[in-house]
Point group: C2
Chain length 125, copies 2
């Protein structure tokens, strides 16, 4: 039925917990590991490393290690990574316009069913 419809890698790639935030964090300038960790409050080094490696693998950012003591590494967006900002902004714009309505729907659902909280949270980036 949807044969020929395009793949939709972007929401999947960006829909995880940290990728979008990392891109926002690198939008204006390259950052060092510790800067990212400080900005992304709550991320552990392991998860930050995994996320950065995964994004590097997909060509969204580059990792540059300087041979100094103490060691220094910085991460910067590639053009490919930067190009994701546009669809991300489309998602943000949707949230700006419609998130309140979604939250209202969710609240009235819980009122009427006394249900337990479900999936799909809301994150700020």
């Amino acid at each position: 039925m949807f044969l020929g419809c395009p793949p939709v890698a972007a929401p999947i790639r960006v829909g995880d917990k940290w990728t979008a935030k990392i891109i926002r964090c690198l939008e204006s300038a390259p950052r060092r590991f510790t800067e990212l960790q400080a900005t992304l409050r709550g991320i552990t080094p392991k998860v930050l490393t995994e996320s950065l490696r995964s994004m590097e693998r997909d060509g969204l950012l580059t990792r540059t290690a300087y041979d100094e003591i103490p060691p220094r590494v910085d991460y910067r967006l590639t053009e490919l990574g930067r190009s994701l900002i546009e669809p991300m902004n489309a998602g943000c714009e949707w949230s700006r316009r419609h998130l309140a309505e979604l939250m209202r729907a969710r609240d009235s659902w819980y009122e009427s069913t006394s249900g337990i909280p479900g999936r799909s949270g809301v994150e700020s980036i």
Copy 2:
């Protein structure tokens, strides 16, 4: 640092495995449970039910049960759900333009590192 930046519910909501596909499936007309199940090849009744309930809870679609025998239920997008198509299309457009580049980066990463496959697959909708 990013205080005041808008929440980004859309990629999170749509970034799961089935939500985007369900929206595409309901884009042109309401569908019954079995129609959805047939179109979304591979989804199990349990997961389809969970997804639909979760989307109903968030006001993305409505569920209508008709008191007939055999039972009949249909699902249709709300205006809120329909409004998600626009940012979804932005993600699709990004994939159309850049997915090949991402896959190339991923391939050359594996060539150079003999690494094991990582996260973030690619889905067609």
